[in-house]
């Protein structure tokens, strides 16, 4: 939200969610440079995922989910692009439908009916059971953010005790490469 009492009338204020893929040199400090850019200029980060993708070239791919008006999203992209270690910034949202996945680990603790219900739900959602004791399960689910959120919601009453999520990895559909 802009705090100025002078609305910038000429800009479209509709807030949209965008997924950005950023290819960077995997050098020390690159992540804090990006995180600092977002906090310093008051932009939102909804999800941030980083991993080295080409080890020999020291290249990492960062996936950022953010939201803002068209003007803010353009500013974010321009600011990212002018950082020295950034190779490329691609707005997957503008490229048409992209594939977005995240992974969640979910621990359910309990006995009796709850336990059976949790297992049934896991099967229905296509989650894998990767750990089980007599009083607990750990499920793994990979999917779009919405799927994961739905799964978390339904598991809640079944003794869901702990959640760990990776953040989003994203890629454009089709033969186009970054």
């Amino acid at each position: 939200m802009s705090v100025s009492h002078y609305p910038a009338v000429s800009f479209d204020q509709t807030v949209r969610r965008h997924t950005l893929s950023v290819i960077v040199d995997n050098e020390p400090g690159v992540l804090s440079r990006i995180a600092g850019l977002f906090s310093g200029r008051g932009y939102n980060i909804e999800s941030l995922t980083v991993s080295e993708t080409e080890a020999e070239k020291h290249i990492s791919r960062i996936t950022i989910v953010t939201s803002g008006s068209e003007k803010i999203i353009d500013q974010i992209k321009n600011h990212l692009d002018r950082l020295v270690p950034v190779h490329r910034v691609v707005d997957l949202t503008l490229q048409g439908e992209s594939i977005e996945r995240e992974l969640a680990l979910l621990k359910v603790v309990g006995k009796g009916d709850h336990r059976m219900e949790a297992l049934r739900l896991a099967t229905a959602f296509g989650a894998r059971t990767i750990d089980a004791t007599v009083t607990s399960f750990v499920f793994e689910l990979t999917g779009a953010t919405d799927d994961i959120e739905r799964f978390i919601k339904v598991l809640g009453p079944c003794g869901l005790a702990e959640v760990s999520r990776t953040g989003i990895a994203a890629m454009a559909r089709g033969s186009e490469v970054m």
Binding site: S4, H5, Y6, P7, A8, V9, S10, F11, D25, P28, G29, S32, R33, G36, G40, K71, D74, Q75, N78, H79, D81, R82, L83, V84, P85, V86, H87
Partner: protein, 586 residues
Amino acid sequence: MSEMMTGAEMVVRALRDQNVEHLFGYPGGAVLPIYDALFQQDFVKHILVRQEGGAVHSAEGYARSSGKVGVVLVTSGPGATNAVTGLTDALMDSIPLVCITGQVPTHLIGSDAFQECDTVGITRSCTKHNYLVKRIEDLPRILHEAFYVASNGRPGPVVIDIPKDIQFAKGVYSRPKDNQHKTYRPTVKGDLSKIKAAIDLMSKAKRPVFYTGGGVINAGPHASALLRELVHLTGFPCTSTLMGLGAFPAADKQWLGMLGMHGTYEANLAMHGCDVMINIGARFDDRITGRIDAFSPGSRKIHVDIDPSSINKNVKVEIPIVGDCAHVLEDMVRLWRELSPQVDKPALKSWWGQINEWRGRNSLGFQNSDTIIKPQHAVQRLYELTKGRDTYVTTEVGQHQMWAAQYFHFEEPNRWMTSGGLGTMGYGLPAAIGVQLAHPKALVIDIAGEASILMNIQEMSTALQYRLPVKIFILNNEYMGMVRQWQELLHGGRYSSSYSEALPDFVKLAEAYGSHGIRCSDPAKLDDAIMEMIETPRAVIFDCVVAKEENCFPMIPSGKAHNEMILNDFTGDTKTVIDAKGRELV
């Protein structure tokens, strides 16, 4: 040519290879090896400042007046933290700097070692880029890359943090062959189709105005020459921001004076009423736009800027052109000549008629006095008496800065050094020292306020050591005048802590620093006193005692539009011109 040497020697060699003749610095434990390497050569001259903040501002003045990269060397911990204000200042004003900081040895990093601080962490957001060197193999590349990054694209400060063990370590030095960077490659050539669209829009304009800025200065003297050519070819009026003064000559008929909060009536009204605005290297700063929703409501805008993030940041423009001012101006001049478009002569004539009417308001006019020196008059006399000399002006921050911008006129770029974006009091004296080193024979004047000058007064000692004849011209109103003015306008005239209490005797202070002191409070003696200052071959502190409660007008009060300026002949109540919402703004 590859050679074995220590990290410290690499630093000095790289500076030499980058043709760095002056280095501003202050020693300490974590940079002793570099100081030792400096001691053993005489190409790079080290200028010992009295506080690291002074080193950075000196380097800024040096850079801005010469077009070179300014270079700084400071120690770890307090040396680095003292440099932070200057680095932020350089980032805001797009000044190319390389600042080398010492760091504790690599194996001690993170242990709260003596004089350790997280320099790259602290300076990440106030530099264009920064490096912590962890391997001697990386040092030669980083040293040269830093110069490339500082000076290419939108210029800015770059920090290289070098742990002490790396300074002692031996490695192979070679100067990288290509001066390119693998990821950082700013666009310098503008998109020709956009430039064509801009020329087309300009040729149809009825009420055009050139709004030029610091980007033209950054692009080098050639860009200023091209700007003049284009403005003359088109016959359009031209104004500039504080940072762009000198790119277009103040004596030119097409010059409207500076625009913005303290700009002229004609410049601001031309911006407000234009139908085509041609922004060359300016960033729609809030001191320019005032109230955004009322800013130049009827115009279509062209914006030339090397930094895509400056475009559509504050103001939406129809024709954005990403590129270097010099390249884009060259294309514009060429296309304009090729097409020699039929401009709308009657419309332009009536536009100039309107502008001349606004000029007739004489918005820089002021009530002079023959009993007390008016600050505006003092700057006017300073300007008249230094005309025709090889003069460079720096300033501190406050009313005197604005009066300098309004009444001292510049015909050439790189002659005017001021802290615009950050507004750092204490900038002017060290900056003047940097300018004087770059231009030893020139007349270098810091137009100062009595409060600001005390922020880096210790640099008088630097001026003495290197025999730099800088002139400090203090408009002494015994107030933090700019603060007092805002308190008058916004806070009912309650002058909370803005009176300059317990000032030193500036004449004695000058003498204590081995320089010459002059005091003048009589308008009749002002010219002689100024001449005495100019003719003194040493540093001078001139205590010019001026009217205490003079306001700096014209002024667009915060929260108002360009057509709601207050002028010098304002007769209403200054205490009620700004509304509650305007008070929230800075």
